[in-house]
Every structure is written in C-alpha cells, then in structure tokens.
C-alpha cells in the first residue's frame, strides 16, 4: 500500500527538512534504514524516495544498527533513523557493535518525552535519552529551531568522523515546522 495520501497533506517543501536532506546528500548518504516515527515523517519521505539512496525497512531497531553496520563495512554510507524509544531497544547494539568497532554512523533520532510531551509512555525515555548518550561518550546534538540544520548536521558528521564514533541527531516534535 502506498502512503502518498499522507504526503499530499504536507506543505510542498519544509525548508528545515529540505536543508537536512541537502546536508545528507552532500555527506554522500546512499543507504538508509530505520523504524518509522511520526516525528521523522519528512526524513523518511525523502530517504525512501530518493533514487540515490537504497532504503531498507526493518522490524526492530537493533536490525537497523546491524544492517547499517554491514552496509558501512561494504563501503556504503548509511544513515539510521529511529525513535528515542528504539534507541534504548538498540542501546546494546550501539555500545557493543558500533562503538567498539569504531563505526562513525549517524543516527537521526526523534526525541519524544521532552517539554510539551503529552504521552506518558515517553516521559522516562525523554529524560534518560541524553544521559544514555553521555554515558556512551558519543557525539550528539539536539536540534533547536534557531539553528541552521544544515550546519548542525555537517558539524555532527565531522565530530563522528574525528572521534570515529557513531553520533546522534535528536529531533524534537515540530523540528520541521518552518
């Protein structure tokens, strides 16, 4: 079934999403894998429909880590997208595969459970997301709307490559409003 009826509801081009796309393309992203989250709708939309990018869907976040790691080993440039709930599901796979093997992959992670959250199932994960990443010692950034997402993403890629570590871009609800 195709989901194009969703896309028809979109504004024709969200400039923040467009800039994110531009940054990923300029980084040479040619492979994407993840599990959907409503907050990431615009990210998934362009990853899944860009002919330069091979797009794989998986059933569970650890699979996304494994498939991306394999694609990276084969010389691809993958990006992973998941919800922060799934970051916890995949935390062992990040800490025991990506980090010890020093794979500088970028994960685009929706940050549910921050200020303004209404869904109680996200409260604990929202509080624990940054402490998890801090304790892993990997680069991350929370995108704030007064920043330029293009610069934020390019900078995050440099940090991932300098450290040879996976890095996380956190996107809050409404990140793509403008």
């Amino acid at each position: 079934m195709n989901n194009s009826h969703f896309n028809n509801l979109e504004k024709p081009h969200s400039s923040v999403a467009g800039k994110l796309r531009q940054a990923l393309i300029e980084e040479g992203i040619d492979f994407s894998v993840g599990v959907p989250c409503g907050v990431l709708r615009r990210v998934i939309d362009f990853l899944a429909h860009d002919e330069r990018i091979m797009h794989i869907t998986v059933n569970r976040e650890p699979e996304a880590i494994g498939v991306a790691a394999g694609a990276y080993l084969a010389g691809k440039k993958p990006v992973i997208y998941i919800q922060n709930s799934g970051l916890f599901t995949a935390s062992n796979d990040i800490s025991s595969l990506l980090i010890p093997y020093r794979m500088p992959l970028v994960l685009i992670v929706s940050l549910r459970g921050c200020e303004g959250e209404d869904a109680p199932q996200h409260f604990v994960n929202g509080k624990a997301t940054m402490p998890l990443l801090e304790s892993f010692g990997i680069p991350y950034v929370v995108f704030e709307q007064d920043n330029d997402i293009y610069d934020v993403v390019r900078n995050l890629y440099r940090r991932a490559e300098d450290a040879q570590l996976p890095a996380v871009l956190l996107l809050k609800r409404g990140w793509d409003k403008t």
């Binding site: 794989i56 650890p62 394999g70 010389g75």
Partner: protein, 186 residues
C-alpha cells in the same frame, strides 16, 4: 556432526572470494582461532545481529556472504528472517549452527528444538531452506544454494573445545575487512 566438524566443512567448501560473518560466542571464537582471515567479520557483542550485518554487506557488495549464526542468536533476532526474505539478496547464505542450546553459556536448552527453523525461513521467503545432519549434506547444500537466498540449519551435538582465544583488536579486524572488500592489499 559437532561444532568443530561443521565449521571445518563450511570453511572447506566455500569459495575464496566469499565473505564470512560469524555470530557471538564460541562460533566466532573457533573461526577466529582456526580460520582467521581478512574476509571474516566477527560479531562478538550485539547478539543476534550477525544476520542483519550479513544482510547489509550483501546489499552493499557483490560477494557471496556466508552468515554463520547460532540457534539462540537467530531466535533473539527472529524478525530479521522477514527482513531478509523481503530483501531477497541472492548473494546471502544463512547457516544456523543448531545445538538446541546456549552453547557458549553453560549449554542451557534453547527453544530451537521446539520449532522448525527451516520452515520459518521458508515461510519468510528464503529461496531454499533445509536441515542437514552430516558434513557431506552440509557441503552439498552450500554448493546447491549458490546464486539464491539460502538457509541451512546444521544440527550439531553439544560439547567440544571452549578455550579459544577471542577477537580483541576489533578496529584492525574492521579495517582489514573493508580493505579486503575493496580489493585493496591488506
């Protein structure tokens, strides 16, 4: 057949250009100690993901990828069968070394004895899927499945050596693997 003879049979019959991706625990450690090579990738942590890693490699390269999984590892990441079946990489062979146990722990019973793993793979649309009980059938099945998405459950007995060394310098293993796939000298 035991783990030692199953692994020896696999390594004997696969092509020199094939890639080997090995699962967590004694399976990786035995392959590392006896058959270490630039074409090998080990997954000592991230239990269950060997098949997902193999899928990523198979999608990104033309080489035949031999995934050497364990029964408990597979059951830990069972959804991957569906993902792989949907992607249908013709250059992926998924071998499960099935001792119906958590062999690398204390040989606690796993659940693979209560399900047909090969039927699960067939249901998930693997192009070929079968169970083997001896080394010559295993070798035959590896050769037969060439060119299509294959699944081989290799039933083995428990026991065997446990004192293998373990892969420690993971970054070097990664670097030589990626160079190998690019065809660069190691």
């Amino acid at each position: 057949m035991n783990r030692e003879s199953a692994i020896a049979a696999i390594m004997d019959v696969i092509d020199k250009d094939d890639i080997v991706v090995a699962t967590t625990g004694l399976i990786s450690r035995e392959i590392f100690e006896k058959f270490d090579s630039a074409r090998n990738f080990y997954n000592p942590g991230a239990m269950g993901l060997v098949s997902s890693i193999g899928l990523g490699i198979a999608l990104g390269s033309d080489r035949r990828v031999i995934v050497i999984d364990g029964d408990s590892s597979l059951l830990m990441n069972l959804g991957t069968l569906v993902t792989i079946g949907k992607c249908q990489p013709r250059n992926l062979l998924h071998i499960v070394i099935d001792n119906e146990s958590y062999g690398s722990c204390s040989e606690e019973e796993s659940m693979s004895g209560s399900v047909s793993l090969s039927k699960l793979a067939a249901t998930a649309n693997y192009a070929s899927s079968l169970t083997v009980f001896d080394e010559s059938s295993l070798k035959h099945a590896i050769l037969e499945s060439e060119g299509r998405l294959g699944f081989i459950v290799t039933k083995i007995t428990l026991g065997g050596r446990r004192d293998f060394s373990r892969p420690l310098d993971l970054v070097s293993i990664k670097d030589r693997f990626t160079r190998h796939l690019k065809g660069w000298p190691s």
